[in-house]
């Protein structure tokens, strides 16, 4: 008797489930029809009827397949399951923390002997971007202030060295700290009035600052040679020997990145760094326990832009040429994407983000054209599915003003 009841219950449950599945199947069909038709419609003016029809067919057929794949686990779960998306920090690599760290560093030091010049060049560029990402990470990641004009400070560093060198004949070594100081001072100059603003307004002001600087660089012909830029910048010299080789730049950049990581790590865990994070987490709570919010925000701007100045001088010395074209708004977004991709507020994330975003387009030569298109789509997807970036941990960082 009991068994019969159970059987009946099971069969009726099954039929309900089945019915639900059928109607769900129908609604999936309907949904994917509408989505496919809508996408094809949006596609139509720029691609013509034939491509729109192909797109329609593709989405109409592909969407149900994708949805049933998704049903095996939500998109979030899928992402979490991918090894790369695990929430890990350096702690997940115990080998890096113990005896393997010296081996890793040694490998970095012997790398130039095994790599072709082209790869070395890419590595040097990714090193320069690492410095930029580390600097921006202090402002955006630690303190939670969105800066959309970071390329401006990069430009100030680069032009400071370019001008000091070509107009006054000053060498690289004395110019490097001067470039950093110039960037820091301009960071402070912008920050003093701008920090009174809330998050998104601050972002727009930094963007405006970046654009004004770029337009001025473009038009102040007597000083900056306008859009033609400044060429003939000298490479670094040491005891009268030119150090313009790629190998030298590699070691210089490597040394500076390692140094900056060490310094930024120390600063992050200092009183100042903890104040930054307190401000990021809750500005009002931070100020109510006695953190001087404005002062620490200024520190963050100064400290972050300092590294942009260093990176700028390195860039000018390596390229031996600077022009306003290298410091557009897109450049700022590119650096910001590195920080976001790596994980906002994570030092190693900034390194990884810079490394990936410089290397990926080089590795995928064929899709180079689509680089910025993919970057744009990637930013949207990252914000929706993984706002904490690849190394950001599970909880993620809230960015606010």
């Amino acid at each position: 008797m009991k068994g019969v009841v159970q059987d009946q219950a099971r069969s009726s449950r099954k039929s309900i489930a089945q019915r639900a599945r059928e109607s769900a199947g129908r609604s999936v069909m309907l949904r994917s029809f509408f989505i496919a038709a809508w996408a094809a419609l949006l596609f139509l003016p720029f691609h013509g009827i034939r491509s729109a029809l192909v797109l329609f067919a593709g989405i109409f057929a592909g969407l149900p397949v994708m949805q049933s794949a998704m049903r095996l686990g939500g998109p979030g779960e899928w992402m979490q399951r991918l090894p790369g998306f695990r929430a890990f920090t350096l702690r997940s690599f115990p080998f890096l923390r113990t005896s393997a760290l010296p081996v890793f560093l040694l490998a970095l030091f012997v790398l130039p002997f095994t790599l072709k010049d082209y790869y070395l060049d890419v590595l040097v560029m990714s090193g320069i971007y690492m410095l930029l990402a580390l600097g921006l990470n202090v402002i955006v990641g630690f303190t939670g202030l969105l800066n959309l004009g970071f390329a401006a400070f990069y430009a100030i560093g680069a032009y400071t060295y370019a001008l000091l060198n070509t107009k006054f004949g000053l060498g690289f070594w004395p110019s490097l700290p001067l470039s950093a100081v110039a960037a820091t001072l301009s960071g402070l100059l912008l920050a003093v009035p701008a920090l009174r603003l809330r998050g998104d307004y601050l972002a727009i002001v930094t963007l405006g600052f970046g654009e004004i600087l770029r337009i001025v660089l473009n038009n102040w012909d007597s000083l900056t040679n306008g859009p033609n830029g400044i060429s003939g910048i000298a490479p670094p010299f040491l005891f009268g020997i030119s150090l313009g080789s790629l190998n030298f730049y590699y070691y210089l950049v490597l040394g500076l990145v390692l140094l900056s990581v060490l310094i930024i790590r120390r600063v992050k865990s200092s009183r100042v760094g903890r104040a930054w994070i307190a401000i990021r987490e809750n500005e009002i709570a931070a100020s109510s326990v006695g953190v001087n919010v404005t002062r620490y925000k200024l520190y963050a701007f100064a400290f972050g832009t300092f590294w942009a100045g260093i990176a700028g001088a390195l860039f000018a010395a390596k390229m031996r040429f600077v022009s306003p074209e290298s410091f557009t708004f897109m450049e700022s977004v590119f650096i910001l994407s590195m920080v976001i991709l790596g994980g906002i507020g994570n030092i190693y994330g900034a390194l990884a983000g810079a490394f990936i975003l410089v290397l990926l387009p080089e590795a995928l030569r064929d899709v180079q054209m689509y680089r910025m298109l993919l970057l744009g789509a990637g930013l949207v997807l990252l914000m929706i599915f993984r706002p904490q970036g690849i190394l950001g941990g599970r909880k993620g960082v809230r960015i606010r003003g």
């Binding site: 809508w38 009035p193 307004y201 600052f209 298109l373 930013l379 914000m383």
Partner: protein, 299 residues
Amino acid sequence: MLLQQLINGLTLGGVYAIIALGYTMVYGILELINFAHGEIYMLGAYLGIIFLGIFTSLGLTAANFPLALLLTVLMTVLFCSAYGFTMEKVAYKPLRNAPRLSPLISAIGVSIFLQNYVMLTQGATDKVFPYRYGETHIRFLSVDLTALQAAIIITSALLMTGLHLFQKTRMGKAMRATAQDKTMAALVGINVDTIISMTFIIGAGLAAVAGIMVASYYGIVNYSIGYMAGIKAFTAAVLGGIGSIPGAMLGGILLGLIESIGAAYISSEYKDVYAFIVLLIILLIRPSGILGGYSEEKV
């Protein structure tokens, strides 16, 4: 000379004002700087060229079929509204409860995506608007005004009046209520999602008209025009007081005047800088703009 510059500024300002309306409406409701709004304007300019091209290839030029222009505007508005609607659903809606700056970054992503999409499909070089119209000159008090300029000024004024009247309708009231307080609006039975979609649809439609007007005014279009126009329109919105619709109109016209007078009397090379300087000064001195009210930050 001054009067001439005022007319030029008014033309430009009308266009800025129309784009600024889209910014200010979205900001009023979502507190989001819709960074990709300028790209909708750029899409509008391109779509105008594309649809005019289609009509011409069908043998319906504006010369023998004056309705072609009107139909082009209509189609462009419809498609741009669809783009605006989709943009909100795909890139902003999933982030509605995310930290404030997440949707802003998402918007930057959309902007880069759309720019490069148009660059890849339409080429990186300038596109020429298929034909010129409205080139008859109107002489008026020593001022030289083309019919096209007059049309732009009149269209802008009509659109602004239209939006002003729309505010008085049922939907417009619902929109204002949502801008004031989303939760309360939802409690009294307003479908907030619909209102937000409507905001994007209207804003995108206005930007589309602005795109066609500018494309026919300057005669050429480039995939990168959306960025600068977007920033300038945003400046206009902030200048007038972001979230305020009359403010956006006032700000747009003021900015157009500042720019054309600055270009004529100071330096035309720095034409694009004036907007940024105005933006910085306004944000630093009076972030709430000319007509904007003071809003306390909620804890």
